[in-house]
Amino acid sequence: MNELLEVTNLTKSFQLHAGLFAQADQRVYALGGVDLTLRTGETYGLVGESGSGKTTLARTLVQLEAHERGTIRYLSSDGSAWEVRRGDRRNLERYRQEVRYVFQDPSSSLDPRMTVGDLLTIGARQRTRGKDRAGLVARAREGLDHVGLRASDWDRRPSEFSGGQRQRIALARALVTRPRLLICDEVVSALDVSVRGQILELLLDLKNRFGLSMVFIAHDLDVVAYMADRVGVLYGGRMMEEAPSRLLVEKPLHPYTKLLFDSAPGAGIRSRETSAQKLTPTRALTGCPFAPRCPLVIDRCRTEIPLPRAVGPQSGRLVACHRVEAE
């Protein structure tokens, strides 16, 4: 088996109001049954706007949020496969060492009161109960070197670094446990334009050097298409289209993917949409989530949820749309 991570029918909703007087049916459907397969060594790109469920998906992958339905199967480094669940503490702990989540904003994901050295080692120190301290420190220092920071940065605090350097610290911290998979959630969104490229390059470098697999999440379709081997486009908690990166850029099929491409500042073409707005679904969907904005909408789109299906002669392309013909 070559699949590192196999996600099927992942579902998650949040209650809109908490407490005694909450309306039971007022729920935000963040993920409406997402399937996703990540092969070893592959970078899977996830693109979507705010509210598309991409961050919820990422947080569910590391079980920061528990999912309601569906399964996450992980192929561990020792060859055994297991299902990732909240309750399975022993396996979850190991899973979280091999699968590291990198947050969007390094200034909030790094405790401002700790030194770099503490930040890199505190997690592992707890786990090993203080044993092999020297080895741990050596590994952490090596990590600093890998991300392009100096050894003298060890005793400094996050506030003394620029945004890009902070993200490097966050990456060094993720590397300490020798992960196999990095989940990068909008890791370059908070950075300056001229620094963004440096971090992207660093990610590619780390991927090569350590043979990492990666889930790369961003709202910028061009960046995701550049970084990823395969790209999934999320909207309203559902996968709209999934395709190898090049194929997607050459010929987007789903109307939403097309809109995303047209809207990017690099496209040069103005969007024809003038005032459509995104809706946050508070009830279970009855049709395609994109239907209210879709230029190609037909009645069927509002009554029947389109399921992802293979399209085109090359395998590996999935589109969830009633209007896209299977070629």
């Binding site: 590391v62 920061l64 702990e93 979280r96 989540y101 909030s108 994901s109 405790d111 505190i122 997690g123």
Partner: protein
């Protein structure tokens, strides 16, 4: 920390407060050396004597000295000065054996007179702040009393803050049913009028206790009444901090919850905690005073500022005739104000929105 020092120097009131507090706590820790007499030594024939330290006399010249007095009316405690009889106050006088902190034997006190060692029997004792109705030196009593009054604040704050940290932290971090139970408990304790609770707790416990026991008891009672408010505040802050990414990050690294709570969450609140210590200390001092004032706190022969005020400064006539007996009250006011000024500085310093102006 640097900015704290800079700010301290820019605020004379806070700066002065810090100096006053340092001096008082130093004096407290060295009270066996600084106090000229034992706090319970009765000077016969010297009851209700006003402060008798003077700085000049034609006979002895300039310098600290004491003029001999004679009692003329035993009922109204009227004294007259005896002309030409002065006793010089000396430094490092060898006196009755005392042990500093009960361990180090002291060969002498900071100051005193030759009273009791003068072969002619003429020398007089020195009373910087007069004596009470049993002829005990008020100054010495204040110094010894600060041992209880100044420490009860810190001990009490640390007990109540500890309770508040544990309960508020657990409620905020775990939430759910623990949150509910702890918060209802807090509300229950807050709802009971504090004074009645204190009186009730004190009354069910034995009133024949030695100093150490009643000291501990008072501290515990005051802490017990004081923690719920702080716990609610801490719970709210933990609630806010635990949503931050670095806490999620720590959870992903499988850190135990208690480590997350105390290594990651509590340090974020450190400046607020420092603040609540400085503002809490005077509260406890006043609490002890109130209890002692009601006769439920420290009782003779042990001495605290509260018990002194209770004994000597509770009637207007007493205060009018013997105003120096109010000295412990003045000390109390000074300490309370000093902690408040210092707390104000720390509050500004801890406020993240407070920007230093050039």
């Amino acid at each position: 920390m640097n900015s704290l020092w800079r700010r301290l120097f820019r605020r004379p009131l806070a700066w002065g407060s810090l100096v006053v507090l340092v001096i008082l706590y130093l004096a407290m820790s060295l009270c066996e050396f600084l106090a000229p007499y034992d706090p319970n030594h009765l000077f016969e024939g010297h009851s209700d004597l006003p402060p008798n330290l003077i700085w000049y006399s034609p006979q002895e010249g300039l310098g600290p000295q004491v003029q001999t007095v004679a009692l003329v009316n035993g009922v109204t405690r009227e004294y007259v000065r005896v002309r030409g009889e002065y006793t010089p106050v000396k430094f490092f006088v060898p006196t009755d054996p005392v042990k500093l902190w009960g361990v180090i034997p002291l060969p002498f006190h900071l100051f005193g007179t030759d009273y009791g060692r003068d072969p002619a029997g003429k020398a007089q004792p020195v009373f910087v702040m007069g004596t009470d109705n049993l002829g005990r030196d008020v100054f010495s009593r204040i110094l010894y009393g600060s041992r209880i009054s100044l420490t009860i604040g810190f001990v009490g704050v640390f007990i109540s803050l500890g309770l508040a940290l544990i309960f508020g932290g657990l409620a905020g971090y775990y939430g759910g049913i623990w949150d509910w139970i702890i918060m209802r408990l807090c509300e229950f304790i807050i709802l009971i009028p504090g004074l009645y609770l204190i009186l009730f707790l004190r009354s069910i416990l034995s009133d024949h206790m030695d100093t150490g026991q009643s000291y501990m008891l008072i501290t515990v009672i005051l802490s017990f009444v004081g923690w719920p408010g702080t716990a609610r505040m801490i719970r709210g802050m933990v609630h806010a901090v635990k949503r931050q990414d670095f806490v999620s990050n720590a959870q992903l690294e499988s850190m135990p919850s208690l480590v997350i709570l105390f290594r990651h969450i509590v340090p974020q609140m450190s400046s607020i905690l420092i603040l609540s210590v400085t503002l809490g200390v005077p509260g406890f001092i006043l609490g002890e005073t109130a209890l002692s004032y009601l006769g439920l706190g420290i009782v003779d022969p042990a001495v605290s500022w509260g018990s002194m005020i209770n004994r000597d400064a509770t009637s207007v006539s007493n205060l009018l005739s013997f105003p120096w007996l109010f000295a412990p009250g003045i000390f109390l006011v000074i300490v309370t104000l000093a902690f408040n000024f210092l707390g104000e500085l720390l509050r500004d310093w801890a406020d993240p929105n407070w920007k230093e102006t050039a």
